[in-house]
Symmetry: C2
Subunit: 533 residues, 2 copies
């Protein structure tokens, strides 16, 4: 067993509120590198440690390298054999399952039913809606051979399902009594992206896509807004990501939509991530596919529609919002493992008592519905395990050593407050006390991650009143917020000159009269500009 840090009673850590500044964790880290990474995988001891088995690149040094490192070493995902594809490993897939569980309940509560559409779409369907084909045709994967024969009509592997959904809706919708029709599907989609990045942009990804049809434009608008609200709540409450909900500019609107609502998230490198979208499709697809109903006056009308989606990209958003130099930091509500138990003993005669206590604590927490892992492997030192599970972003670590067993207590460390300040000794093993303590701490960590992310976001948005100020903000890697009523051409000019795009016109607008920072004309709204993924 490796050397252990001497534990000092830290009553102060119990009394001091968790620090929410981002600098302190990095500072504290400096003082506690007691343990070193050895090998991470369970390779035979004779094998030399491989590059991938070392510690991750520090987040503060190279954000992109850190991102790829944590994905690989925490075994969240791996590259597939086909360029741009990704294998989502159990630890990463569990996050997607958390997302699914939460949203699936919300979708049903708001009146949607799950179903499944085929992924092969006749090429002619894509061509029916003019802006849709323009937006998607460069990204299509096309099946041309089936059952050993050249197909008469090429098939598109769905990049999104509006076209096939409308083809079916046209058959199912006859009267106003068939409306609203509100469905959702969990599915894979394919977009032939050239620049890919695990979770954020892959050739194939998983998502849910909601599709609804309504009798009036007001209902469709209400639905589109309701669903972006569901996404916003999910981001804040579950993923601890303080997204900014708003409306896309015309330039950035979905190919085939009248309006696109979005939630925009600031990643740890201050780039924006479009984390979910909800589209008011108007009658664009219903006109292209003749999706009509007979209204109460016997008149034929085209339906008003919405579609909305969140994808495995959101997992990338969770990874890139939280974390520090040591690795991942998962919000408890989406964490695949919420608590890891590390039993510690030096002498052989201590072993059985420690392991037995650890197993009891495991059972207690598991019965309480907590996602708990007992790491009782003997190949690794406790120090190695501390670093490993820290890198994996597990919110709470419980240590149990011989002294703890004798005192019937455990030591609990918080991932969000590294070092001694996050460590509390002498928490009773008594089930009621322990479970209640752990649940409270998980709630505190959830809140603390959200607060840290809010502070980070707010300290990196600059209010601008001129194009020069915008350029400066963007060049510093920040987001710029300013009144905007300029043209699409001006918007593209900003993109060309600064690399930033309008992420959204946020729902939350400052009061008072506004003057467009680009043209000097009156403006109704401020827009947020940023570089993005």
């Amino acid at each position: 067993m490796g050397a252990l840090t001497v534990r000092l009673p830290t009553l102060s850590s119990l009394l001091t509120p968790p620090s929410l500044s981002r600098s302190s964790p990095f500072f504290l880290r400096h003082h506690r590198t007691t343990f070193k990474f050895t090998t991470v995988t369970a390779a035979t001891s004779s094998a030399p440690p491989k590059a991938q088995e070392q510690a991750v690149t520090p987040r503060s040094h190279d954000f992109n390298a850190w991102y790829l490192d944590v994905i690989s070493r925490a075994e969240l995902a791996d590259y597939g054999p086909v360029r741009g594809t990704m294998v989502i490993r159990p630890y990463g897939y569990a996050i997607w399952e958390s997302i699914q569980e939460y949203l699936n309940v919300k979708f049903k509560e708001t009146g949607h039913s799950n179903m499944y559409f085929p992924q092969f779409i006749p090429y002619s369907f894509i061509e029916k809606e003019a802006s849709h084909v323009e937006g998607f045709s460069p990204e299509l994967a096309v099946v041309t051979i089936g059952g050993g024969k050249e197909l008469e009509e090429k098939l598109v592997v769905r990049p999104t399902s509006e076209t096939i959904v409308n083809h079916m809706f046209t058959q199912w919708i006859h009267s106003h009594r068939d409306l609203p029709l509100m469905i959702n599907q969990w599915a894979n989609v394919t977009r032939w992206e050239m620049r890919t990045k695990p979770f954020v942009r892959t050739l194939e990804f998983l998502w849910q896509e909601g599709h609804t049809a309504h009798a009036t434009p007001e209902e469709a608008e209400k639905e589109a807004l309701q669903m972006i609200d569901v996404y916003t709540k999910f981001a804040y409450e579950e993923a601890a990501i303080p997204v900014i909900p708003g409306r896309k500019s015309k330039v950035e609107t979905f190919a085939g939509a009248d309006k696109t609502y979005t939630i925009e998230a600031m990643m740890g490198d201050r780039k924006a991530l479009q984390a979910g979208t909800s589209h008011n499709l108007g009658q664009n697809f219903s006109r292209a596919f003749a999706t009509q109903f007979t209204d109460e006056n016997g008149q034929r009308q085209h339906v008003w529609q919405t579609s909305w989606a969140i994808s495995t990209r959101f997992v990338g958003g969770i990874i890139m919002t939280h974390g520090d130099d040591a690795g991942l930091m998962f919000p408890p509500r989406v964490a695949p493992i919420q608590v890891v138990i590390v039993p510690i003993w030096k002498k052989e005669e201590e072993k059985s008592g420690v392991l037995s206590a650890a197993a009891t604590v495991f059972d207690v927490l598991k019965s309480a519905g907590i996602k708990v892992k007992l790491d009782d492997s003997e190949q690794r030192t406790p120090g190695w395990k501390f670093n490993f599970w820290e890198m994996k972003g597990v919110p709470i670590r419980i240590e149990i050593g011989p002294r703890d067993v004798s005192k019937n207590s455990v030591v609990i460390s918080r991932r969000d407050i590294p070092g001694k300040e996050g460590k509390v000794f002498g928490i009773s093993m008594e089930p009621t006390i322990l479970v209640s303590y752990v649940k409270d701490k998980l709630d505190e960590i959830q809140a603390s991650l959200l607060n840290m992310a809010i502070s980070f976001r707010d300290s990196n948005i600059v209010d601008v009143t001129s194009y020069d100020e915008l350029k400066e903000a963007i060049s510093l890697g920040k987001w710029a917020r300013g009144p905007w009523s300029a043209s699409d051409k001006d918007e593209l000019k900003v993109k060309e000159e600064t690399g930033a795009t309008i992420r959204c016109f946020p729902f939350e607008q400052p009061h008072g009269t506004k003057t467009c920072f680009m043209t000097g004309n009156p403006a109704d709204e401020v827009a947020i500009f940023a570089k993005s993924y």
Copy 2:
């Protein structure tokens, strides 16, 4: 409101145990066609009723037409725009969700983790395992264009994932400590089938595929058997399908497996449906993909593997196992709706009292976790609704009329016992009593459907001692069971001459010495022969 049947107190129905014979429901049906189908969809009343809005073809007249009718009219599924594809509608998808919920828990309990592999597989992968490419190459959908360009290597849309799984396993497995590796994925798969049928055989379908790697052949065999056991229990306990588990003949074994275990189900037309399979893959894929580990003695070894799957085909199996001339009959544990409430009133002054009581009953059952639907639409008569929900296979119907309201009671009808015999009056609305009564009845219906299916199965399997007896049994549409140790060639001859194949060598074997009915040689086992889907 349409005319209602006069309700007679039927104490006898309370005392008579439910009939388990298959003939009685058909007999009873003859006496109770009080209500006629009018229009099923909510089309405007001026629209003429369409063909699809009429009653279903009686199951006893034309099983295949009945199957297609119930799928269409109960809105389980619809045809996709591409030949052989299927849209799974909410009522059908809910059954798949029941299957997923149950199996997902069982898979995790038995140590498997969910993950996700890309669906695009390089064509060269498929060619690596000789019998695998032979089995699957005629059925492949191939992507040849991506992002507007001809691809250098053609991509197969996964027909199953053994090849890509092994490609990744080879990167993840190093030491015996990495074993067993046990994963599962919920995914869509594509097989270019020429003869398709909704749910049973479609170009694209949904499934789960488990993949495991082990250090020893014994562990792999144990795993393959464990998973066919999970499927068997699911079929019996949830789907009320008395499948016969067993081993496939060599001819019928999966392309790439050493052994295939199967669960074979007898459909209502007495054709066999292969409802789930579990394969012991031996080292076939690990040798083709060099998936090796270092054992405890430092020796490199190829892993031993399994794979196992259940698909949306199982939904077809549930539909075709249960049901009668009037339509579907879902086992309560997989039924999308377990209880439908039909409020009944004639006079306008009765309406509010009846609707209010119906809403209360709805809330009571819903709070108790029962899947309940309140059909309070005013476009349809109660009689129309009775027929409609009967056709949809809802296990229990609750009627509430003015007299019931005054007596604070409801009328309950069982789908599995049509007519008066399945109808009970005067069940108290008092929540505790009602919930307990409904739950008991759901359990009884679950058991009754299984018992009916067991009786049907057992009365349609013939023990044969000669090829002539087999031919006769098959020509009567039955299954034949007899001792078999003949050659693959003989097996193919049976298929050619009778249309029947070996469905399996059942695990449950009769005692005593056996003589092959084909060759007269000693035989170790009996095999089951049947025509199949």
